[in-house]
């Protein structure tokens, strides 16, 4: 007896959702032996494959099965993406540069050279008084280069190189210490004697 084509059964066979191997075998036998079933199978398979290979919107789960309503995805109250904008980035970079300079200057300002009562006989050979800063803390002398030039420092005939914005700490012996600072042109910019 000719069995009427069951479209849904063929679709279930194609998607592999038949609940038993026997049922799947039965459908396959019908497709392989009956021209109408085979013809329907090819149509349905082509149709199903076309949909499978066409990219449609992925159906949200809550629409597919509203019973399992997932929590509504909350949007963050603060969006950090604006920080990635170039204008903002440039502004932040400028602010950082300012902060660095301010902090450096603050460090330089810590050298209250001219008010230190332990430093005596200070002789400045340069008008640029803010190139070198000295600070004496008990027997430790700290020298800071606040210029962009590389300085040579001679302390009691010992030579030191002081790069730009660099500092140097030297322990002083009791007695008189002479400090001579020269710039990269070998010009003496400071010649100081300290009595410790």
């Amino acid at each position: 007896m000719k069995q009427q084509v069951d479209i849904e059964l063929i679709i279930a066979y194609i998607e592999g959702s038949l609940n038993s191997v026997e049922k799947a075998d039965e459908v396959r036998t019908l497709i392989e032996s009956n021209k109408d079933w085979f013809s329907a199978y090819v149509d349905l398979k082509s149709s199903a494959e076309e949909f499978k290979n066409t990219k449609f919107e992925v159906t949200p789960d809550q629409l597919l099965n509203p019973l399992k309503n997932s929590a509504v995805k909350s949007t963050p109250k603060f969006d950090f993406n604006w920080l990635l904008k170039p204008q903002i980035g440039l502004g932040i970079a400028c602010m950082l540069i300012v902060v660095v300079f301010v902090s450096l200057n603050r460090e330089v300002d810590d050298f209250e050279l001219f008010t230190d009562p332990n430093i005596k006989n200070l002789q400045m050979t340069s008008d640029v008084s803010d190139i070198v800063k000295l600070r004496l803390n008990e027997s430790t002398l700290k020298i800071f280069n606040s210029s962009t030039d590389e300085l040579s420092v001679n302390i009691n005939n010992n030579n030191y190189i002081l790069s730009m914005f660099d500092s140097l700490e030297v322990s002083l012996e009791k007695g008189e210490t002479r400090i001579i600072v020269m710039n990269s042109n070998q010009e003496t910019i400071q010649d100081t004697t300290i009595n410790n």
């Binding site: 849904e8 959702s17 497709i31 392989e32 013809s39 090819v42 149509d43 449609f56 019973l67």
Partner: protein, 305 residues
């Protein structure tokens, strides 16, 4: 809201408003895709663009919009038949996109609008008018009289219309006529026209007289697996690759019986099938080349589609 697929289908069947709205929310893209495919058949016309959720455009004409609504109605009908064997999504979309529903669509389109297929419209006014007269079942004499044309011209027009309808799977639109591979006959089997078909490479056209029954008889003599593969290849227009992939997964024994172990073997099968058919059909009285045999097979499955 919906417990499972069966309840969703049941509500759709009962025209539940919430279920219908939910279906449209989920499957609008797919419905427009099917509607657009049914109507346009690759032909441009006045339309507006529907942008899918995924971001590509579908051309929506009035015909597509009407068809979209018709498909929604079909969703209600087909949902009533759902038994819960397959996933509802696969069931409904595969059915709506399948060729079964196309005939229903043609009937509906013809019934309410005096539908003229786009591929006929594109051919020009003469074709449209002759097609309409054929739809009205006017005989050739009447058509010739109304259109003031020679019989030979009418035959050419009719032949083109038949070929175009057959190519687009719409021969049902002119039910009173059947088309054999080489001739047009009416319901009584009377040959109305034996077309000149250069592709057939028929040496002596005048002597050619083939009936559908003869072609049927030859093809029925082939093995069942060969017949099935021919249906898939010529009748359903599957590519060799798709044919092999589909059948290899779901019905491998058909391929095995026809000695097909790869997509390339499908081409070997095609040549073998044509050779066998050619051997049977060609004779001294009906000398047909292999190229002609191939065209006959192609047309046979086009009509049988």
């Amino acid at each position: 809201m919906f417990k499972d697929d069966r309840e969703f289908a049941s509500l759709l069947c009962n025209q539940d408003k919430h279920a219908k709205r939910a279906f449209q929310e989920i499957y609008t893209d797919e419905l427009y895709f099917i509607a657009s495919k049914m109507v346009n058949v690759g032909i441009d016309e006045d339309s507006w663009d529907y942008r899918t959720k995924k971001g590509y455009n579908i051309k929506v004409s009035d015909d597509v919009s009407d068809t979209y609504l018709w498909l929604l109605h079909q969703v209600e009908l087909k949902s009533c038949l759902y038994k819960g064997l397959a996933e509802f999504k696969n069931y409904i979309l595969t059915v709506l996109n399948g060729s079964f529903i196309k005939k229903d669509w043609l009937k509906w389109k013809t019934g309410i609008t005096g539908y003229i297929p786009k591929h006929i419209q594109e051919k020009g006014d003469d074709y449209i008018e002759i097609y309409k007269l054929m739809r009205q079942k006017k005989d050739d004499e009447t058509i010739m009289q109304i259109r003031k044309m020679e019989y030979s011209d009418l035959v050419d027009y009719k032949y083109d219309i038949h070929r175009s309808l057959a190519k687009h799977g719409q021969l049902d639109l002119i039910k009173d006529y059947t088309v054999t591979s080489l001739s047009v006959t009416n319901e009584d089997g009377e040959i109305l026209y034996e077309p000149k078909d250069e592709n057939l490479s028929v040496e002596e056209t005048d002597d050619l007289s083939l009936s559908m029954n003869k072609i049927d008889e030859i093809i029925q003599s082939f093995s069942k697996s060969d017949q099935f593969i021919a249906i898939a290849y010529w009748g359903k227009n599957l590519s060799a690759g798709d044919l092999f992939t589909f059948l290899n997964k779901d019905t491998p024994s058909i391929l095995k019986k026809s000695n097909i172990a790869s997509a390339d073997d499908v081409y070997k099968f095609v040549n073998r099938f044509i050779d066998n058919f050619h051997n049977e059909i060609s004779s001294d009285t009906n000398p047909i080349t292999k190229k002609g045999a191939r065209t006959i097979i192609e047309n046979y499955y086009l009509i049988k589609k």
